[in-house]
């Protein structure tokens, strides 16, 4: 059944249907509506047996989830921005211990300067923490990916974050078909933990590992991520069969087959991008769009397959590595043979700046004409820069 529903609410309702047993949360914008809704659902008794733990920090939120998961409970939390950074140490720990926690990240910029609006700096800063990262294009995807995330996490015994753009998705009311409870139960079996804190079979979890085995642990973490590539694709197919609608698995190509130039992006900006490409296609510019749902693991083969013979790649980045350049661009260069292709990085929408069709059109027109530079900051306000420079000198 379709309903007009806020993104946060859709995610909360979906998570509820996944029957979490422990939900813990520390409030941070723009994640708040998700955990507010879940706290109400738990308090009403609708989710019983489920414990909602109001913790004193994001570090504690992830730590409670770690304890809960190790004790055999399906555990969920949500955060954003500074909160994700505050739990960084625990993120590595959760993945290192192989605990299948699912977390929503309501993507938001990182300060200073403090900024509560959307970009991907938070999740991308944690790209190497061993979690799987899935990015939602719209609120339907945000809801559906949570069901897939629980299944994926528990099959591989590894944690998954579902990233959805803060405010742009979390606070937007859209038409969403919530995953049906019966279908969710069919798709998502009961949690069978790989390791369990159990007095009847005592195990030591979290031992100290020295140089003689640490490399092997990291190698296995990589192997798990690579295994996820195949599983995500399969689970997306199975999702369609169960729920009767598609969910983007690794990547979602749009008009790529005959494209000279393919724009790669993640998250909610894909909608605007597709509209822009449609417009420019009318004018005869052969453009395509490739949305990445999976960022970790990085779906190199799926990307290579989707971009085919495109001569030019434009990577639209919602985060930035100062002193280097585009984060997705760097991964792309490492994963794909780029010889014979031109790769452009366009940094856009940092700290919530709107990414408009007009600006995208300018950048993509320049790309198609071969005049776009290797690194562009979309809509960079030169006047503001001069003003800041003048103040600095005064």
């Amino acid at each position: 059944m379709r309903s007009q529903i806020e993104g946060s609410r859709a995610v909360a309702e979906t998570v509820a249907r996944c029957r979490p047993q422990v939900v813990c949360a520390y409030p941070i914008s723009p994640q708040t509506h998700i955990v507010e809704a879940l706290s109400a659902l738990v308090k009403s008794g609708r989710l019983a047996p489920c414990e909602f733990v109001n913790v004193e920090s994001e570090f504690a939120a992830m730590s409670v989830a770690i304890g809960a998961s190790a004790a055999g409970a399906r555990a969920y939390t949500a955060t954003a921005s500074q909160g994700l950074l505050y739990m960084a140490e625990a993120l590595y720990n959760a993945s290192g211990l192989g605990l299948p926690i699912v977390m929503t990240v309501a993507n938001r910029a990182i300060g200073a300067p403090i900024n509560i609006w959307n970009d991907h700096s938070d999740a991308m800063s944690q790209r190497d923490c061993g979690w799987i990262q899935l990015y939602a294009e719209d609120n339907q995807a945000a809801a559906d990916l949570h069901v897939l995330a629980f299944r994926l996490a528990e099959e591989l015994s590894t944690p998954v974050m579902v990233c959805m753009d803060g405010f742009v998705l979390t606070h937007a009311v859209e038409s969403v078909e919530l995953p049906g409870a019966t279908e969710v139960d069919r798709y998502l079996p009961r949690f069978q933990p790989r390791q369990l804190l159990d007095p009847d079979d005592p195990v030591t979890i979290g031992a100290m590992v020295g140089p003689e085995a640490f490399t092997e642990v990291r190698y296995l973490a990589h192997a798990t991520q690579l295994a996820a590539l195949a599983r995500i694709a399969t689970l997306a197919t199975e999702f369609r069969a169960t729920f009767g609608r598609p969910v983007a698995g690794l990547v979602s190509p749009y008009r790529c087959t005959d494209a000279d130039t393919v724009v790669i992006a993640l998250g909610s900006v894909l909608g605007t991008l597709k509209d822009t490409v449609d417009e420019m296609r009318v004018d005869g510019v052969p453009l395509g769009v490739l949305g990445l749902t999976a960022f970790r693991p990085f779906p190199a083969a799926a990307i290579a397959g989707a971009i085919g013979d495109a001569k030019r790649i434009v990577v639209l980045e919602r985060a930035f590595a100062p002193g280097v350049g585009g984060i997705v661009t760097a991964d792309l260069a490492a994963a794909l043979p780029v010889a014979g292709r031109t790769v452009h990085t366009v940094v856009a929408g940092l700290g919530g700046r709107p990414v408009t069709r007009a600006s995208l059109r300018d950048a993509l027109t320049a790309a198609a004409a071969g005049t776009l530079g290797p690194l562009t900051f979309l809509d960079l306000d030169e006047r503001l820069l001069r003003h800041t420079a003048k103040e600095a000198m005064a």
């Binding site: 047993q21 422990v22 813990c24 047996p49 489920c50 414990e51 733990v53 109001n54 913790v55 004193e56 920090s57 570090f59 504690a60 730590s63 409670v64 989830a65 770690i66 304890g67 809960a68 998961s69 190790a70 004790a71 055999g72 409970a73 555990a75 140490e89 625990a90 720990n93 211990l97 804190l197 159990d198 007095p199 009847d200 079979d201 005592p202 195990v203 030591t204 979890i205 979290g206 031992a207 100290m208 590992v209 020295g210 085995a213």
Partner: protein, 332 residues
């Protein structure tokens, strides 16, 4: 789990006296079928107070929970010396996550057990003073105020011993550590700093707060049993001398813990719902100097000359404890 027969040398010094008692009154450690939760072969230093305390605490908690116990451990000596992969000394379900999150992880375990209706299983968190009173303090306070069903045990050796004896918020005044060196006009740790985690725990008005030392192991067992008889957030703070960090000989660990209580510098007490309910009276009162002299971390108070001014300040702190906790009134 199946009990194992314990080797005789592990049964503890007061096992012999237990033979005169009826079986149900004997110490946990005197029971040859006790769990032996932290088994032999671990890599603690000779004379480690923490290893001794942990064994008594865990075995007592295992008996009180009828073997239905799960433990969460902060990073620190206890974690490092007990679990060098692929070995483990733990014969109880044991989880180590991070340095600063053991109370929160324990809260998560408790929440999971409640959600799964496995409430017959009890949760015990443990860590050193660094993991408890410093880096894990926010998580500890959160666990307390929510009333999560966890017994948290702090093994207090008054510093970061695992990383090479640095100062913690539990390091006493004047003590030399590698970050409070015995140099300058006021050598060692500064006066007026540090905190009492048990008193702060009491301010949360949780069901049970107690202190103990390894000098009175029967009392330690009793306090674990008492704590396990209650539910909600409970806190046990155990003084565990550290030969490495305190600069004492391995054979004096227990004696030093005893002098800490007999001088009044470490008050032994119990509190319920934030109210002091009992304190252990001092049987043989000694000046703090007897306690300080056995430890190289206080050597600068006696060499090259005796620092009467500093010793007097430490004695004043002990006297204050004696008054505050009624340690000489005989009304304990």
């Amino acid at each position: 789990m199946t009990p194992t027969r314990v080797k005789f040398y592990q049964t503890g010094s007061f096992a012999v006296g237990n033979r005169l008692l009826p079986a149900d009154l004997r110490a946990v450690q005197s029971d040859p079928t006790r769990t032996n939760s932290l088994t032999s072969g671990h890599r603690a230093c000779q004379g480690c107070g923490e290893a001794l305390a942990a064994r008594y605490v865990l075995d007592a908690a295992m008996r009180a929970s009828k073997g239905r116990l799960v433990t969460v451990n902060a990073t620190g000596c206890l974690e490092v010396f007990s679990t060098p992969y692929p070995e483990t000394s733990w014969r109880v379900p044991w989880l180590h996550s991070l340095f600063g999150n053991a109370p929160a992880v324990a809260s998560g375990v408790a929440a999971a057990l409640k959600a799964q209706s496995r409430t017959d299983i009890r949760v015990l968190g443990q860590g050193g003073d660094g993991g408890t009173v410093d880096i894990g303090f926010g998580a500890l306070s959160g666990m307390f105020e929510r009333g999560d069903d966890v017994l948290y045990v702090c093994y207090d050796n008054q510093g970061y011993m695992n990383t090479g004896v640095q100062r913690s918020g539990a390091t006493p005044p004047a003590a030399r550590t590698s970050t409070t060196q015995a140099v300058g006009p006021e050598p060692g740790n500064v006066f007026g700093q540090g905190k009492s985690a048990p008193l702060i725990a009491m301010a949360h008005e949780i069901p049970y707060v107690a202190t103990a030392t390894i000098a009175d192991l029967r009392d330690l067992e009793y306090k674990v049993e008492r704590a396990m008889a209650l539910h909600g957030a409970r806190y046990l703070h155990v003084l565990v001398p550290c030969p490495l960090g305190w600069g004492s000989t391995a054979g004096q660990t227990v004696a030093i813990a005893r002098l800490a209580t007999q001088s009044g510098i470490f008050p032994v007490f119990e509190a319920e719902d934030g109210v002091l309910t009992a304190s252990t009276p001092i049987r043989r009162h000694v000046p703090v100097e007897e306690y300080l002299r056995l430890q190289a971390r206080f050597r600068h108070l006696f060499e090259p000359e005796r620092r009467a001014d500093v010793i007097d300040r430490i004695q004043a702190a002990a006297d204050h404890n004696i008054e505050r906790f009624h340690l000489l009134s005989g009304e304990g």
